[in-house]
Symmetry: C2
Subunit: 197 residues, 2 copies
């Protein structure tokens, strides 16, 4: 299994983290976003969006972190990570959606403005991110995990850009439930970190 | 079944359209976004994000359009709409992710700037939206549907904000494959439209 990857990408880290928790081995192929390698033919022929992560699992190509997470859960995980019944599946999907919205366009973009000089409006991104943090803090009040009694893909998908939020000048001091949840993820068997966390 | 809904919301329309294709009846409860009703306690107690759509299916509350689509597909649809095997599931999820990224933060935001005077950078949104349109156009070259040999949730999730793109000053003239795909969706049995399409 091959992962087109970059160390500082939170979306790539989601996949590395989930593989580590599942005990899956893969070969990491570094794609240098700073040099625009993701917009070169080698990546574009795998992913029409010109983004990473991209997974190559014995010739099965999957792009997009959300799609790769669900692929790995179904192929190598179990229903703990991605339940199939309508209601628990919807619970997981709600937080996967939050990870693609408030967390990606809020927290991750704020981080990208500060860290990679991207051209977005920092305060708009931070404000959007805060809405996501507020929803997470409320959900985790009295719960250990976001979508079920145990960790699911929801926790894996939301974790990276929340943990990286301070790199976008977002402080987590006022979110005690979130901080406790980050700590719980960090002691899951197999857990790995990334620079900035 | 009750849907907290607004006629002009493309995300709400995704749910109305999918219910129509499945032949599901529901009661539409209008939430007036212009008057901020989605940030009032009645909605906030259902959805911590303060957004619509929200589904109430006999007391089971599901928020977020992506989560509601997967809920309805699993509960009332069949695997045609949301396959469960790893690889076809990943194919559907790829385009669901595109619908939450380039289409929502590109096309839908461009529309919201033009139509609802939202404060985002129009050209940034349009540029982001174009990347999504380019990926769709490439995927639909030689294919009838996005993720399989038949319509799936991928098509339902991507359709609304592509069809509404002209309201964000995006012309679809240079995307013949997309225009043919829009027409195919519009003749699916049970299809309904919305204002602007």
């Amino acid at each position: 299994m091959k992962l087109y990857d970059m160390e500082l990408s939170g979306n790539c880290y989601k996949i590395r983290l989930f593989c580590a928790l599942l005990g899956l081995q893969f070969q990491s192929v570094t794609v240098d976003l700073m040099r625009g390698e993701h917009k070169q033919p080698a990546i574009l022929q795998l992913n029409p969006r010109g983004q990473i992560p991209v997974l190559d699992d014995g010739g099965i190509i999957v792009w997009d972190s959300l799609a790769i997470l669900t692929y790995l859960a179904r192929k190598y995980g179990n229903e703990q990570w991605l339940p199939l019944a309508a209601e628990p599946l919807a619970r997981v999907m709600q937080w996967l959606a939050l990870s693609e919205n408030e967390l990606l366009y809020g927290l991750a973009r704020a981080r990208a403005v500060k860290k990679f000089k991207r051209p977005w409006d920092l305060s708009q991104c931070q404000e959007h991110g805060k809405q996501g943090l507020a929803a997470l803090e409320q959900q985790l009040n009295g719960r250990l995990w976001l979508a079920d009694e145990h960790p699911t893909l929801a926790d894996i998908a939301c974790y990276p850009y929340v943990a990286l939020a301070p790199e976008g000048d977002m402080v987590l001091d006022e979110y005690p439930q979130i901080r406790a949840w980050l700590s719980r993820i960090q002691v899951l068997p197999g857990y790995i970190g990334m620079p900035g966390i």
